[in-house]
């Protein structure tokens, strides 16, 4: 689980081009949107593609995203439980 969290932080920094942010700046429970990392709706689409492309998870209900993408912790938990690759 810890390795997955680190992997996710890395992917988010690289994919979303967060130049000024290092892995250690993102706490597992920091909100990804709003006051935390400050991600926006375009970033949400990038995260959906990461789930699909890298972990084989297709989000059928977009409303689920709000819970899944709350933090690195919630993302890692969802991926661990649902990944197909």
């Amino acid at each position: 689980m810890e390795a997955l969290k680190e992997e996710l932080k890395n992917k988010i920094i690289t994919t979303l081009n967060l130049e000024d942010i290092a892995i250690e700046d993102i706490a597992d429970n920091d909100p990804l949107f709003g006051d935390g990392l400050g991600l926006d709706s375009i970033d949400a689409l990038e995260l959906i593609v990461i789930l699909d492309k890298d972990y084989g998870i297709k989000l059928v209900d977009p409303k689920e995203g709000k819970t899944i993408f709350q933090s690195i912790e919630s993302m890692a938990a969802y991926i661990s439980a649902n990944r197909t690759k």
């Binding site: 979303l16 081009n17 130049e19 400050g38 375009i42 689409l45 990038e46 593609v49 699909d52 492309k53």
Partner: protein, 355 residues
């Protein structure tokens, strides 16, 4: 109705030279070793928040910085219109998006590079940052993209549609496009150093990238560099027609050859098309100071915007740096400058500015 005059009241340039935080070209370097010149980047964070910059390719960032420098130089905070010229637009993101389509077999496509890949991204992002809701237009007309924007800007001011216009030319190198240009011979082949532009005997050009922006206003101010007297575009012109066309352009502006204090030529090292410039330089304008610039800026569709930046600086400083001189003719004062440019024998432009 009397047409309003158009003055360049502020300029900003990001190029393959250090053209920011400098007086003129005192730090310019003629790079003989590269056939593709890369931008000297400013500190983007001083102009764009990291959150906004993270989705921007270098062309967008350079356009924003160059326009911000021009606005500061002109000492104004708002303009009535933003007009941009670009040959290839945001080619870096276009390449990224197309590569994603191929690499992922048309799946897993995300919007980021797509929404940044359109040609009008630069003008749009400048407008967003400045909260400018006025006229916003981008011209994509090959090597006369910038001049098209300039003509529009001049007309907006002349007709009093706008009192102030931010106008600029911007292009960026994309790795794949650069590779294709090398294959097609548009860029000089690798490993043929030294790359000299004035005594070249090979085809192709030394390429570059950059963003140059200008604040144009309808009144002369303390910050004024020059008045834009006239701009004209000709898509086709034969080598032996250039001289007559130039003289006719001058005549239309009630000027003669002797009135031109400097002639800026777009030599890009391509031996196939350099006679367009030589015909002018060695005949009618043999006794006129001649300047060139693409050894510093590289060739690209909107390199002529760099030339206008350079000419405006000459009028303001009344100095011609050695590094841009084609000949050794000098004048006591520089009042009127003529710029002539073309790319691969097409898209010719004449721009006339005066102090």
């Amino acid at each position: 109705m009397q047409l309003k005059k158009t003055y360049i009241n502020g300029i900003g340039c990001i190029s393959t030279q250090k053209t920011f935080d400098t007086v003129f070209l005192e730090e310019a370097v003629h790079n003989h070793d590269e056939n593709v010149l890369k931008i000297v980047p400013p500190i983007y964070k001083d102009f764009i928040s990291p959150a906004a910059a993270r989705r921007m390719a270098k062309g967008v960032k350079n356009g924003i910085v160059a326009s911000a420098i021009a606005m500061k130089d002109a000492n104004i905070e708002n303009v009535d219109a933003i007009i941009t010229g670009t040959g290839l637009g945001c080619i870096e993101d276009s390449e990224k998006f197309l590569k994603n389509i191929l690499d992922n077999n048309e799946e897993f496509l995300t919007p980021t590079s797509f929404i940044q890949s359109t040609h009008n991204t630069v003008g749009a992002q400048i407008a967003l940052l400045q909260q400018c809701k006025g006229y916003n237009f981008t011209y994509v007309n090959g090597a006369v993209s910038f001049e098209s924007a300039l003509i529009d800007a001049k007309m907006q001011i002349e007709e009093d549609e706008a009192q102030s216009v931010l106008v600029g030319g911007v292009d960026e190198n994309g790795d794949y496009t650069t590779a294709l240009f090398k294959l097609s011979g548009r860029i000089k082949p690798d490993n043929q150093q030294p790359y000299n532009l004035l005594d070249s005997d090979t085809s192709g050009a030394v390429y570059g990238e950059g963003a140059s922006f200008f604040v144009l206003e309808n009144e002369r101010k303390k910050t004024t560099y020059a008045e834009i007297l006239d701009v004209t575009i000709l898509n086709t012109l034969e080598e032996n027609e250039v001289e007559a066309e130039t003289l006719s352009f001058l005549k239309a502006n009630n000027l003669e050859i002797s009135d031109i204090d400097a002639l800026v030529l777009g030599f890009d090292g391509n031996v196939d098309f350099e006679n367009y410039y030589r015909n002018l330089g060695e005949n009618s304008f043999a006794n006129t100071p001649q300047l060139y610039y693409k050894h510093l800026s590289g060739e690209y569709d909107t390199a002529s915007a760099f030339a206008l930046w350079m000419a405006a600086k000459v009028l303001k400083t009344q100095e011609i740096p050695e590094i841009i001189k084609v000949n050794s003719v000098e004048k006591l004062a520089y009042k009127t400058i003529l710029l002539y440019n073309q790319l691969n024998g097409k898209n010719h432009s004449f721009t006339l500015i005066s102090k």
